[in-house]
């Protein structure tokens, strides 16, 4: 009996991510959910600009590569074109919370019936480790070499908390993928975010607190520990909005 194998919706190709990067885990969780809901044939994914820019090669469903930050707008077009299709975006923190903040907020406010997978690893990975809108106070990055000075560059943005103030969105949850238990919870949240779309409930966003061993300058194992020690205290896990449950 097979206990675990690669989901069908995940392409059988090597991914370009660094060793220990948790993007691969989240890709797999999304693919598992697509398999379990039997929606691969009608799912269209939108890849961002950032480390996961080439996500379009990693899923077997139809894929679109969007301009930086614009994935929710592109997803809006795709969903409005055929509301029977299932549309998800996969975006990093720079893409979703910096350059694409307007698209994020307004698609949430419209309760656009899409699923947003938001990878928060507190850094710009693809360009080599610059400060992200979610970089922690004091966090050393290439563009905050003395640590993020909140007086000069402001505070990190807590996306789930912020969006939860809107009447629009259906479901907002923050999860992490730094241990088996958290990965299993992340899977549940991602599944719910897709089920909500299938059931026409509306905008569902799952923020996944993730690691970037390379640009954090940590081993893959230490990076997962850093999530527990530094990230989760600033970005508490949990459900921030679940309108159907309210």
């Amino acid at each position: 009996m097979v206990v675990f194998d690669k989901p069908h919706a995940l392409a059988d190709v090597p991914m370009h991510y660094c060793p220990g990067c948790t993007h691969g885990i989240v890709h797999r969780l999304v693919a598992e959910v697509i398999d379990e809901l039997g929606i691969e044939g009608k799912t269209i994914g939108i890849a961002p600009v950032g480390c996961s820019v080439m996500a379009y090669d990693y899923f077997n469903c139809d894929m679109i590569e969007a301009a930086h930050g614009r994935a929710p707008a592109v997803a809006t077009g795709v969903k409005r074109s055929d509301p029977n299709n299932i549309v998800f975006t996969y975006q990093g923190d720079g893409d979703l919370a910096s350059i694409g903040m307007a698209e994020t907020v307004h698609s949430a406010a419209r309760n656009e019936n899409i699923t947003v997978i938001f990878i928060n690893n507190a850094i710009y990975g693809m360009t080599g480790g610059q400060m992200a809108p979610t970089s922690l106070p004091g966090q050393v990055t290439q563009t905050s070499p003395y640590g993020r000075d909140v007086n000069a560059c402001g505070f990190p943005i807590k996306v789930c908390e912020m969006l939860s103030q809107l009447d629009g969105p259906e479901y907002l949850e923050r999860v992490a993928v730094n241990n088996v238990k958290n990965v299993k919870n992340a899977k549940k949240a991602i599944k719910k975010a897709f089920e909500n779309q299938v059931n026409n409930k509306g905008f569902s966003l799952v923020e996944v607190v993730s690691s970037c061993p390379t640009n954090w300058g940590l081993t893959p194992k230490k990076a997962l520990e850093w999530i527990d020690e530094k990230m989760i205290p600033y970005y508490p896990l949990g459900v921030y909005k679940d309108r159907s449950a309210e």
Binding site: D62, R70, K79, R80
Partner: protein, 354 residues
């Protein structure tokens, strides 16, 4: 002949788009094109279409990108500053070879400029308008009837060549009311096997994308794209000639400038000056061959423009220095008067022995 209805130019665009099968419109309010959005807001919900006022021009063009990826007819409209914001999306549409219609009802610039008519986005429209090697098909209407007809043609050409078409109008055209016939020939539907409509588990996944990290691959797609552009240049040039048969002076003008020029030409003819007009209807591809041919027999060409002189560069390139090309222009929202154009014709006539 079908019945005509009295319509504003902007409304004619919107109704023609619906007739052409466009059911998705995304836009952001900006003068002087907002009637397009207002018309769509009224009509789309009644016919099962989508009207969505986006949070920005940037979002609107990316919503267009989304619908275009699924192979359906889609449009946005804006005016000059808004088109600049759409530049990013326009480049991505070109990079992913997606068909779409973008309407630019031009106003004076640069910057916030003004809200009066202008043709000063000619460079932006015809030379790409954003980063990278690409072209849009650019159509320039000179009547409300053409606003409608070229909207339909714009969708057909976009689908046929997997290109973005820009309808380059101006504030005058947008606000002007004229009788319009809405009886169009619609081209046959183009198959779009590349569209991201879901694999239905029956085919390999489609990818809509403009990223090519290997320079060899990116070069190849650029060369292939420009091969397609060459076919457009060979087959899709549109222009109108007015009194060019015996003309000794040629006016180059499009849109509202061409209408003003016709009045000036009629007056000049009364005064015995043999002057005609070549009016490009496609600004890209540009009717270069027609200007080159004219240069064989006219003594000079006058480019009449609502800008500081933009199309004049393409006219000069076309005639390769064979005849002098002069500029008769107003800018910043002002329109040349027939009298101003007539003076330019007279000046050319006095100094113009070939």
């Amino acid at each position: 002949m079908s019945d005509k209805v009295l319509m504003k130019g902007n409304e004619a665009i919107a109704e023609a788009a619906i007739i052409a099968g466009c059911r998705h419109y995304f836009g952001y309010p900006i003068t002087p094109q907002t009637e397009v959005a207002a018309y769509m807001a009224k009509r789309m919900p009644k016919i099962g279409g989508t009207f969505l006022q986006a949070e920005s021009e940037i979002a609107a063009i990316n919503m267009v990108y989304g619908v275009a990826s699924t192979g359906k007819r889609v449009m946005t409209s804006s005016s000059s500053p808004g088109i600049s914001l759409k530049g990013e999306g326009i480049s991505y549409l070109a990079g992913a070879d997606l068909p779409a219609l973008i309407v630019n009802v031009q106003r004076g610039g640069p910057g916030l400029g003004g809200i009066q008519p202008s043709q000063s986005d000619y460079f932006q429209a015809t030379k790409g308008g954003a980063h990278g090697d690409f072209h849009m098909i650019v159509l320039a209407p000179a009547s409300v009837q053409e606003m409608a007809e070229l909207t339909v043609k714009g969708f057909d050409l976009a689908d046929k060549y997997r290109m973005t078409t820009m309808l380059l109008a101006d504030g005058t055209m947008g606000q002007m009311m004229e009788p319009v016939s809405l009886d169009f020939d619609i081209a046959e539907t183009v198959e779009k096997p590349w569209a991201t409509t879901g694999t239905k588990m029956e085919r390999e996944h489609n990818i809509v994308n403009s990223l090519f990290l290997q320079p060899e691959a990116l070069e190849r797609t650029n060369f292939e794209r420009f091969e397609r552009y060459k076919v457009v240049e060979e087959n899709e040039v549109l222009y109108e000639e007015y009194m060019m048969d015996d003309a000794e002076i040629c006016i180059a003008a499009f849109g509202i400038a061409a209408r003003v020029s016709k009045n000036a030409i009629n007056e000049a003819r009364k005064q015995g000056i043999k002057v005609g007009l070549i009016r490009p209807i496609t600004l890209w591809p540009f009717p270069s061959a027609q200007f080159a041919k004219a240069a064989e027999r006219v003594s000079s060409i006058i480019s009449v423009e609502l800008s500081m002189g933009q199309m004049i560069e393409d006219v000069k390139l076309a005639v390769e220095g064979k005849v002098p090309v002069t500029l008769c222009n107003r800018a910043g929202g002002m329109i040349p008067s027939p009298e101003q154009v007539l003076e330019a014709i007279k000046a050319a006539n006095n100094g113009g022995d070939k």
